[in-house]
C-alpha cells in the first residue's frame, strides 16, 4: 500500500536518511523504531509532506505521494506534542479537518460526536485543550487525526508525554482503535517496549538506515545485525569468530551457539539474559575463590571502575559488549592468562562471580563477572533469586538460544 523506495535526506553535511526502502501493508500497525537522531521523525515528516527527500520515491496505493501538497494528502499525523489548537474547544479541534472537506454541518457534528465517544471524550467536548489532562489531550489528538478516516495514520511518539500507567492504558486503546477503524498505522518511537507491544511489524532504524524489518518476536529472537541485537532488549554480546559449536571468543574459549556461519568469520554471539541458566557452583568453593581473585584481578588491571560502570549500564538495559580484541586483558595483563579461565573446557559454559543482584518484582537481574571478559554477563531469572553477591556461579545456555550475527 505504502511504498517507500530509496529515500534519502541530508541536513547540511548530516545524512538523516540514506536509501531507506520500506513497504507498509494495508491495515497494518507498523512501527519505526530507533534511537533519537536515527531519522525516523524525518521519514514521518516526509510522509506528511512537511519535508522533502533529496532522492527517492514514495507511493501510496500506487500514486506518487511526494508531488502532492501536504494539505491534499490522505495522510494524517498525530504530533508528538499533539499540536492541538489552543483557541478551539475539543469538538472544534476534532471538527477542523472535516470542515476543510466542506462536509454538511450535520454530518460533521455526527462524526465528531462518534469519534469523541470512541475515545471516551464526549463529556469534554466543550473544553479548551488547556483544561485537559495529558491523557485526554493525547486522545483529542488521536480523535482529530482519525476523524478524517485517512488512508494512513502517522503517530509521532504518541505516548512519550504520558506517565507510565496512562501509557499502558493508551497502548491498549491504540491497538483497539486501530482494530476498529481499520486504518493503517505507522508509529514512530524510540521506546522498544512500545513498538513491541503495539506493532505488527517493526523497522529498526539506525543512523538513517533500515537495519531490520520484522515482526516483534522475530526481531527479538533473531536480530539480524549487531545494532538490533544491542538495541532491542537487553542482550549479552560476545565478539569473536565463528567455529564449530558456536563462537570462539578470546579469553573465554568456545561459547555455545548455532552453526551456520562460515568458520573463522568474525561474528557476534547474542544471548538473551533470560536464556542464560545460572547454577551455583557451591561444590567448587576453593577454585571459586580463585575465580573471584581472578575477577578482581581483571578489574584491577583495567585500572578503573569499568566493571562497576558496566553493571550500571546493564541495569539500564544497555548492551554489554565483551571486547575480544583491542584492549583485551591479555594485552594489558599477561598474568591474567595464568589465572583460571572463566570458560569450562568443552562445555561451553562460563564460570564467574555474582557482582550484583537486582530484584524487579517479576524478574531478577543477576550481573556476573566472568574472568576474561570486560563487563558483566547479565542473567534474568523469574521472581526472586537466592543467589547472593559474591557467590560463584556457572552460566550455561543451549546452542540454539544464542544468535550468531556476522560482523
Amino acid at each position: 500500500m505504502l511504498q517507500i523506495t530509496d529515500v534519502s535526506r541530508r541536513f547540511g553535511d548530516v545524512p538523516a536518511l540514506s536509501g531507506v526502502s520500506l513497504e507498509i501493508r494495508q491495515g497494518e500497525f507498523f512501527a519505526l523504531l530507533g534511537p533519537s537522531g536515527c531519522g525516523k521523525t524525518t521519514l514521518l515528516r516526509i510522509l506528511a509532506g512537511f519535508e522533502e527527500p533529496d532522492a527517492g520515491t514514495v507511493t501510496l496505493d500506487g500514486a506518487d505521494l511526494l508531488t502532492q501538497a501536504a494539505h491534499r494528502r490522505p495522510v494524517n499525523l498525530m504530533f508528538q506534542s499533539y499540536a492541538l489548537f489552543p483557541h478551539m474547544t475539543v469538538a472544534k479541534n476534532v471538527a477542523y479537518g472535516l470542515e476543510r472537506e466542506r462536509l454538511p454541518k450535520a454530518e460533521i457534528r455526527e462524526r465528531v460526536a462518534e469519534v469523541l465517544e470512541k475515545v471516551g471524550l464526549t463529556e469534554t467536548a466543550g473544553r479548551r485543550p488547556d483544561r485537559l489532562s495529558g491523557g485526554q489531550r493525547q486522545r483529542v489528538a488521536l480523535a482529530r487525526a482519525i476523524v478524517k478516516r485517512p488512508r494512513l495514520l502517522l503517530l509521532d511518539e504518541p505516548l512519550s508525554a504520558l506517565d507510565k500507567k496512562v501509557r499502558a492504558e493508551m497502548q491498549l486503546e491504540l491497538k483497539r482503535l486501530q482494530h476498529e477503524v481499520g486504518i493503517t498505522f505507522v508509529v514512530v518511537t524510540h521506546d522498544q517496549e512500545e513498538a513491541m507491544s503495539l506493532a505488527d511489524r517493526i523497522a529498526v532504524l539506525n543512523a538513517g538506515r533500515v537495519e531490520q524489518v520484522d515482526a516483534p518476536v522475530t526481531l527479538y529472537e533473531r536480530p539480524a545485525t549487531p545494532f538490533v541485537a544491542g538495541f532491542v532488549g537487553a542482550n549479552n554480546l560476545f565478539r569473536g569468530t565463528a567455529c564449530t559449536g558456536g563462537l570462539s571468543c578470546e579469553g573465554l574459549g568456545v561459547l555455545a551457539g548455532p552453526d551456520g556461519l562460515e568458520e573463522g568469520a568474525s561474528a557476534l554471539l547474542a544471548v538473551r539474559p533470560e536464556r542464560v541458566v545460572l547454577a551455583e557452583s557451591g561444590a567448587e568453593r576453593d577454585s571459586a575463590g580463585d575465580d573471584a581473585d581472578a575477577a578482581e584481578g581483571v578489574e584491577a588491571q583495567d585500572g578503573s571502575g569499568d566493571a562497576v560502570e558496566a553493571v550500571q549500564d546493564t541495569l539500564e538495559g544497555a548492551e554489554v559488549v565483551a571486547e575480544g580484541q583491542g584492549t583485551s586483558p591479555e594485552a594489558n595483563a599477561p598474568d591474567v592468562n595464568n589465572a583460571p579461565s572463566g570458560a569450562i573446557e568443552g562445555a561451553g559454559a562460563l564460570r564467574g562471580r555474582v557482582a550484583d543482584v537486582s530484584f524487579y518484582g517479576g524478574v531478577s537481574h543477576v550481573s556476573v563477572l566472568v574472568p576474561g571478559r570486560d563487563g558483566v554477563v547479565l542473567v534474568a531469572t523469574q521472581g526472586a533469586t537466592r543467589v547472593q553477591v559474591g557467590s560463584s556461579v556457572t552460566l550455561t545456555w543451549a546452542a540454539e538460544d544464542g544468535v550468531l550475527i556476522p560482523q
Binding site: 494524517n76 477542523y96 479537518g97
Partner: protein
C-alpha cells in the same frame, strides 16, 4: 508544638515586612518619578479645563463648564474625528506592512533574525525630526522622487502637505513599534500548529485565518496600540508634513496653549484625547485577557 508555630509566625511577619521594603527600594524611584513628573503636572493641566481663561494666557480660577461644552463644537469635533481617522489609517497600514515583515523575521534562521531585528530598530537611533525632514527632501516639489519621475517624463507631483503625507510619516515613524510585538507573538507560536492545520487539509490561507492570526491576536492588538497611541496625539509629524494647518488634535492643543493662549480649552482638548486613549487601552486589555 506551639513554639515553632509562634516563631514561624514571627518569621512570616518579618519576611513580609522585608518584602515590602524590598519592593519600595525597587519601585520607589520609578514611582516617585511618575508621581512628581507625570501625575502631578498632568492633574494640574487637566484641572485647568474646569476654569476660565486669562486674557494673556494662564488661568483665572473661577469654575466654568464652558471649555467642556465647547468640545462639542463641530469645528473641534471634526478635528478630533479627523485625527482619529488619520491615526486609524496609519495603524492599519502599519499592520498590513508589519505583519508579513514580522512573520518573515520570525521564520528566519537565528543569525539572520538578530540582524533583521537590529535593522528594524536602527532608525530609532536617529533623531525623529531629522528622519521626518528627510521625507520633505524626498517628497518636495524639486525633491528626489519628483526629479526621478521627471526623468521618466512624469510629474512634478504635489506629494507634501496633505493627510496622506501625514499617514506616510506616521507609518514610517512607528512601524518598528508594530513589528516588534508582532514578531514576539509570531515567534512564540508553535510552527507545528500550522503544520497540523495543513495536515488536516487546510490551504495556507485558511491556516492563516483560522490558526495563525487568532493565536497572534494579542501581538496584533499590542502593535496597533503602540502605533495608534503616539499617532493620535502626534503634532510634530502633521506640523512638518501636513502643511502647518491644525489638522490633528495635537496641533490644535499646541495652538491653544501657545498661540491662542487659551489654556483651559487646550486642557479640555487634552482631556478628550486622554479619554479616547484610556477607553481604547481598556478595550485592548480586556480583549487580551479574553485571548
Amino acid at each position: 508544638m506551639t513554639v515553632p508555630a509562634v516563631s514561624g509566625a514571627t518569621v512570616n511577619t518579618r519576611s513580609r515586612r522585608s518584602r515590602l521594603a524590598e519592593r519600595l527600594v525597587f519601585l520607589g524611584p520609578g514611582l516617585a518619578y511618575l508621581i512628581v513628573l507625570l501625575l502631578i503636572p498632568l492633574a494640574t493641566v487637566l484641572s485647568f479645563s474646569l476654569f476660565r481663561r486669562g486674557r494673556f494666557g494662564g488661568v483665572i480660577y473661577e469654575a466654568s463648564g464652558d471649555n467642556l461644552v465647547r468640545l462639542a463644537d463641530p469645528i473641534y469635533l471634526d478635528i478630533v474625528l479627523g485625527s482619529l481617522r488619520i491615526a486609524l489609517v496609519a495603524t492599519l497600514v502599519a499592520l498590513l506592512l508589519g505583519y508579513p515583515t514580522a512573520y518573515l523575521i520570525a521564520r528566519l534562521p537565528r543569525k539572520w533574525k538578530t540582524i533583521a531585528l537590529v535593522a528594524i530598530v536602527l532608525p530609532f537611533w536617529t533623531n525623529l525630526l531629522i528622519r521626518v525632514y528627510a521625507w520633505i527632501v524626498l517628497l518636495s516639489g524639486p525633491g528626489l522622487v519628483n526629479s526621478a519621475l521627471g526623468k521618466l517624463g512624469l510629474g512634478p507631483f504635489e506629494f507634501l502637505y496633505n493627510q496622506g503625507t501625514v499617514v506616510v510619516g506616521l507609518v514610517y515613524s512607528y512601524l518598528p513599534l508594530m513589528v516588534l510585538p508582532l514578531y514576539a507573538a509570531i515567534e512564540r507560536l508553535d510552527p507545528r500548529l500550522a503544520e497540523a492545520s495543513a495536515n488536516l487539509g487546510a490551504r495556507p490561507a485558511r491556516t492563516f485565518v483560522s490558526v495563525t492570526l487568532p493565536l497572534t491576536l494579542p501581538g496584533v492588538l499590542t502593535g496597533c496600540m503602540f502605533v495608534f497611541v503616539p499617532s493620535f496625539g502626534n503634532f510634530v509629524i502633521p506640523e512638518l508634513l501636513g502643511g502647518g494647518r491644525s489638522i490633528m488634535v495635537g496641533n490644535l492643543i499646541r495652538d491653544q496653549f501657545l498661540t491662542a493662549r487659551d489654556w483651559p480649552f487646550g486642557s479640555a482638548l487634552t482631556l478628550a484625547l486622554l479619554a479616547v486613549l484610556i477607553v481604547l487601552l481598556l478595550l485592548q486589555a480586556w480583549s487580551a485577557r479574553r485571548a
